[in-house]
Symmetry: C2
Subunit: 420 residues, 2 copies
Amino acid sequence: MSKGPSRRSFLRGAAAGTAFVAGAAKAGTPDPLITEVQPWASGLGDGVDATPYGLPIEYEADVIRRNVEWLTADTISSINFTPIHALDGTITPQGCAFERHHSGAIDLRKEDYRLMINGLVDRPLVFTYADLERFPRENHVYFCECAANTGMEWAGAQLNGAQFTHGMIHNMEYTGVPLRTILQEAGLAAAGDLSDKWVFVEGADASSNGRSIPMEKALDDVLVAFKANGEALRKEHGYPVRLVVPGWEGNMWVKWIRRIEVMDGPVESREETSKYTDTLADGTSRKWTWEMDAKSVVTSPSPQAPITHGKGPLVITGLAWSGRGAITRVDVSTDGGKNWQTARLAKPGEKMALTRFYLDIDWGGEEMFLQSRAMDETGYVQPTKAQLREVRGLNSIYHNNCIQTWWVRPSGEAENVEVS
Amino acid sequence: MSKGPSRRSFLRGAAAGTAFVAGAAKAGTPDPLITEVQPWASGLGDGVDATPYGLPIEYEADVIRRNVEWLTADTISSINFTPIHALDGTITPQGCAFERHHSGAIDLRKEDYRLMINGLVDRPLVFTYADLERFPRENHVYFCECAANTGMEWAGAQLNGAQFTHGMIHNMEYTGVPLRTILQEAGLAAAGDLSDKWVFVEGADASSNGRSIPMEKALDDVLVAFKANGEALRKEHGYPVRLVVPGWEGNMWVKWIRRIEVMDGPVESREETSKYTDTLADGTSRKWTWEMDAKSVVTSPSPQAPITHGKGPLVITGLAWSGRGAITRVDVSTDGGKNWQTARLAKPGEKMALTRFYLDIDWGGEEMFLQSRAMDETGYVQPTKAQLREVRGLNSIYHNNCIQTWWVRPSGEAENVEVS
């Protein structure tokens, strides 16, 4: 637990906010919510049989996944966005965790589930769901980020809200079996030298969304997962079984995984050639850009989460993550990157998981150009948009991990902007 | 990450299970799920606009909170149970996390929310919801256990399922403001020597459910929380604001918290005298038994989660927790406590949070008397039911943290039993 600002400095902040102490500010005006007995304090509420499986209260109806109509030709091969501007902490509830489908979210019962392991293995195997439950399990919290997250920002500040610029991400506690265990069950002696071998993984949906993964990663931390945040995967996240590929782009986290083939090279499938490669300024494309580089974003205040309380104490908060390990530090700037303050991490960073950061300031009501800058345990520092464009050009779609800027006006409203 | 069983021993286990390798077992019978193109692999699934806020897939419809009709006179002042037998990992999804209400789950909008701080403070204050959002926040994962969890077991092995014997518990990542911060904002100089002061906390529902908390705890780790697992608290868990009292009995985690009064002694309210005290064998009652002692339970196999795959590799799993700190070790017995094996903890134990344990065994198909025994960082060891009865008698309802026994038959079915 890192230390917050000292008590003394916080109280100074509070005292500076004229309308901050609600009780004091309203001392002369009786508040019926205090002075009168309210209906919820005199009647009975819902019983324990009201919602066997509950949903958020109606007043939170705006905390939902949203899609952007112009982004894709239809909603089947499309994406929606996690409402990160309205969340706090690090866990993403399944109900509002983003979805990306290539041929829609399929309906696959556990009884109909099969996982084939074939190719260069000693004995090809087919597992049922019940078989998978018999292997030793692990639990890990990991973020899953679509390679296209923030992709619309290559062309400028296009979408007005953290949900849309950075919401192709979620963070869950997965339970599953290491892929290593499954591969060893099939036997890898037939594959010979493993250092140049790959696995090809594909899903049971019509797109099959096949991807090649180097054997080194497959034997490291990849999970064949069947639970997220304690319960079964949701339909839209690959029920009953998906691949979890920690730190690597979401497209490789194959949902409804049906087949894993051990091969002597990559397949160079559509999903890793014409898609999910990075076209550079000279027209050539980088491939095998699997890791998601260190990145961060201020989630509040932000365009969908403006400041509504005026000047005085203000909580600036956001998320940071790295596909290469743990986040070690996040800095926040309120002046577009000229000056930086080190934010407080809610917990020490964990490998390939979201880290929540806070900066508690005394806002004077002036405009701000809010930015955050993440650092990870490899020493990598999140780049500016200009630095990223210098290296990558303007042709890219994927892997945009640049520093984001929100222009916060004196009114408290915020807007997605670029600073030079 | 603790180490699992060695690869070698696991493969021996797998080889011993005749029907374990599904592919091998079905080699002679073509499986249409493998040989034929299935509808989900040729058609389109749901689009990304199908569920702005998603629910579990229909096939998981049995993973729900359940109440026990005979337990309470009505469902308003009642309790339901988390389906822990069907969950894995440690996070409890809000949707199926147990509820306990004294006058029902009330409907309280953020705009109508007020929190009063009064009593021995320098300046009594009333906070709106928006005010609370301006204080520095913290994130912590904590379990919340009702003091009555496992309470029906004092009289014998009464309820057939881990959901019912141990399901008055959930574990979430909370975001909130330390109560300490709120109290310091009101100023504690007026209270003088804090070592003998208390706070009295009450909720906005009709029951008000008032409880006294010693100042030492109030200034330590208590949170005024408004988010759980990243999103707003659910209505049934105290929306918009509840108290989080780490490690202490759930009744003190006041929902819809409306008032916190600094006092020079405890109130000795109904909820801490005629309720939530432990009547001993001689008829006297223990009070102020706030901490939840170290406890554990095997969640699978269990009566609601029987073994369906026959002998061979079997994952035994469960949960352990302690209100006094981190779980350091869990042992599992398959013979009713004669012999113990140390289970694998999915992650090192964290203070006042659920810890998931696994024991991967090769089951020979014989009957088992399955038990788990938790140890925490204070050196405390979870007692047997006989040991607990010896100290506490048979008059208690609350704070039953005894070792649980499941009798697993050769058929794989399990039953709640007592062993002498």
